[in-house]
Subunit: 454 residues, 2 copies
């Protein structure tokens, strides 16, 4: 491995000049391609989809680098971009967790995965397990990390692996809904709720379940599924179930219950808990999530859904995720190979703290924007006492600005408006997880808007 990586490093230096030149040409051509009309298209796309499908030139620039493994020399180009605001589009609509890229680059070879052509060929991982496509290495890593962080109980739970928590969410709906019911099951979540829940629930017009909106407004005396997202996407608040009726079933989406975002209070102990590597370690491109499920029959039904939906989950991704989760655990233990500064959650915690300080400073300069405040708590994992520093900022436009998304778009800042989350247009969700250069430019531009208006 080492010699291999060294060779790549040498290559990268050798080819640096040629490649940077090529990238610059690509960048110029993209700048020519973008314009206001294009911005309008981007907005339309955002209204339709679960994700924003556009990124700023700088992101696309780095994107291109990431998506090529053949030219490994790309990888050693810097990913941090000048914070000087050139007035280009800043897309913080989607939660692409690229802020973690820098950490993983610093770790070098520690999490490099090597897979031979003859490995992982079969559909099956362990046919004696309920989740027969779950790689044991991945399951072990999940259990180890939860024990270490203390954010969820794994004892007496079945682990179901999924192609991201998006697939697991749909697997849970399938598992909880009887297939002989006279009408579809009601699916609710307290507003503001994750903008993808309604889309993922209704896109196939299933006869098993249907989106029933804001849990606070749910009045039917019918069976229901309540999605409890804590910390909540979009607003970062700590959540509990709100309907609390006896025909209810709860699904806890704990994608953000990690110590870089919020103080860990107690290990979560719910019947169905969803997690994903996208938001815990930043590996969104790996498309991998896991569910901790108490009831064996529900775990079986979820497994059946994933069998019918995709015949299991990529084993390559499971093996890679296992290595990454084991590294995170090792970085906490910091054994001989690890230094204090390798601690993954300390990196995330410090970076989120820095960004929230920058953002609150920009917002506090005037009275046209406001942000939620969070109670302070001591993290049982890190010992830090802090206020939640969520993966998304839930920004409110005050005063005369009625449509905050349009207002920010007029300043070429792309965000996701409140209506997608079941609330008013005065709110927007802003990703806090983008690359350093993008975030710094955003904070700077927000300050400028403030000073212009106030």
């Amino acid at each position: 491995m080492k010699s291999h990586q060294n060779m790549l490093r040498m290559m990268s230096l050798k080819h640096f000049l040629v490649i940077s030149l090529a990238l610059n040409v690509g960048l110029i051509s993209k700048i020519l391609f973008l314009g206001d009309k294009r911005v309008e298209e981007i907005y339309c796309l955002d209204n339709k989809g679960a994700l924003g499908l556009e990124v700023s030139e700088e992101e696309a620039h780095v994107e291109k680098k990431d998506s090529s493994l053949k030219s490994s020399s790309y990888s050693f180009l810097p990913t941090t971009i000048s914070a000087e605001d050139d007035g280009s589009i800043i897309n913080l609509d989607h939660g692409d967790p690229t802020m973690y890229e820098r950490y993983w680059q610093q770790m070098g070879d520690k999490t490099t995965v090597v897979i031979s052509g003859w490995q992982l060929i079969s559909y099956f991982s362990d046919i004696r397990k309920i989740c027969w496509f779950l790689e044991s290495e991945f399951a072990n890593a999940v259990i180890r990390l939860h024990k270490q962080v203390g954010n969820a109980l794994t004892e007496g739970r079945h682990i179901v692996v999924g192609t991201g928590s998006t697939q697991l969410f749909q697997a849970v709906l399938y598992a909880l809904c009887p297939d002989n019911a006279s009408e579809p099951m009601n699916v609710v979540s307290a507003a503001p709720f994750y903008s993808s829940y309604p889309l993922m629930t209704d896109y196939l017009k299933s006869g098993l379940y249907k989106w029933a909106g804001d849990a606070y407004k749910f009045r039917k005396d019918k069976p229901y599924i309540e999605l409890v997202t804590s910390p909540n996407n979009p607003d970062g608040s700590s959540r509990k179930a709100v309907v609390n009726r006896n025909q209810g079933m709860l699904v806890h989406d704990l994608a953000y219950y990690w110590p870089q975002y919020t103080p860990i209070s107690i290990p979560a102990d719910h019947d169905i808990m969803l997690f994903t590597v996208s938001k815990s370690t930043g590996h969104a491109g790996t498309r991998l999530g896991w569910a901790l499920v108490k009831d064996q029959e529900i775990a079986k039904r979820m497994t059946k859904f994933i069998e019918l939906n995709t015949i299991g989950v990529s084993k390559d991704s499971q093996i890679r995720a296992a290595k990454i989760l084991h590294h995170v655990a090792d970085s906490i233990d910091h054994g001989p190979e690890y230094q204090e500064t390798d601690n993954f959650f300390e990196f995330g915690y410090s970076l989120m703290a820095k960004r929230w300080t920058q953002l609150r400073a920009a917002v506090n300069r005037s009275n046209i924007f406001s942000l939620p405040s969070f109670p302070s708590g001591t993290c049982s994992f890190s010992g830090h006492t802090f206020e939640s520093q969520p993966a998304f900022a839930w920004l409110k436009c005050e005063g005369e600005i009625e449509d905050c998304e349009s207002f920010l778009r007029s300043h070429k800042i792309l965000t996701r408006g409140g209506k997608h989350f079941g609330v008013g247009a005065e709110y927007v969700r802003i990703s806090m997880m983008d690359r350093d250069g993008i975030f710094d430019r955003f904070a700077e531009r927000l300050s400028t808007i403030n000073s212009q208006v106030s």
Copy 2:
């Protein structure tokens, strides 16, 4: 890389004794666990699912090896198992393409993929493409291989990548069905049809589409989607559309249109064509398929489905599949690094030819079984003139045996009965893609049954 692999080889020799001992202990415990009651359970599972969820001891044995990357030394244990029939269960119900494992082992490091922790982090591959999560390396490999083999036209097509062709099948249904229709779209396929089509179409009770059964019996004067699988799963026949009405839309599932299974006649030129690495290269565990789509709007809708279903497709799997497909193409060109015997399709062609000869010999010994015969054709790719040698054998029990699946199960051979494919119980589908030892033992046991009965 080389030094790394050599190290693993040395390790493997060193630990061979310990590991084989450990595996034998595991094997014995599993043999004790299995019995006739267990066989009954397996049968029940088969009736419910798209896949058989049980494998014979020998498979589980090798399975275990596959699913551990930590102990790389496992990998050098032989995967061919003694052909002596110990009377244990032989599971050929599912199409697990493990017969290809031996080829990939022979190729050693040639298709080893190395992914660093900081690579492929983002959700996005190329945001300027319709399929924004498609890795360009994978797209290039797909186009290169189709051009070389001549089995499908890629010009003027959009490539949509999916988590196996299973996900792409559902993406196509979503893409072709208007979301404002008064009733669900009819989905049909000529019997015998792939047993998963009805399950994948109806498991969510979608209001967009519903399974309408055998295309030969479809009489409604309504819009419909016809699935044309050629070569067909289960019976290996070459297929054309059978309904041929003006309100019809066609989806061509070409998973088996590769030169190891059937003579390539002309490049397929249809509006929507589905392929998968599972059946082309044998990498089922990678869960990767691709669609070639003429219409841009359909490609966009399919992409939207995959966004809502799993927010894209594992980039780790795409990068690995790209390397594997490029190797297959290289092995055909046989450049300096490649020998004549490295040709992937020649390996597959020869092995399938050998197995079909074994199977027909076993079947022809008596008059209780029969197999379909196929017309002879010359392959435009390989130049070989041969009769199709499908990935599945479509076996018929003749005479008094009414339930062929139960009859073979009484001999501890697990197959998938005709009723799952929309036809009679006198038929069964048998996988021809299992590991050498399993297949040899199956052929031997089938001969014995023949000689017992006749």
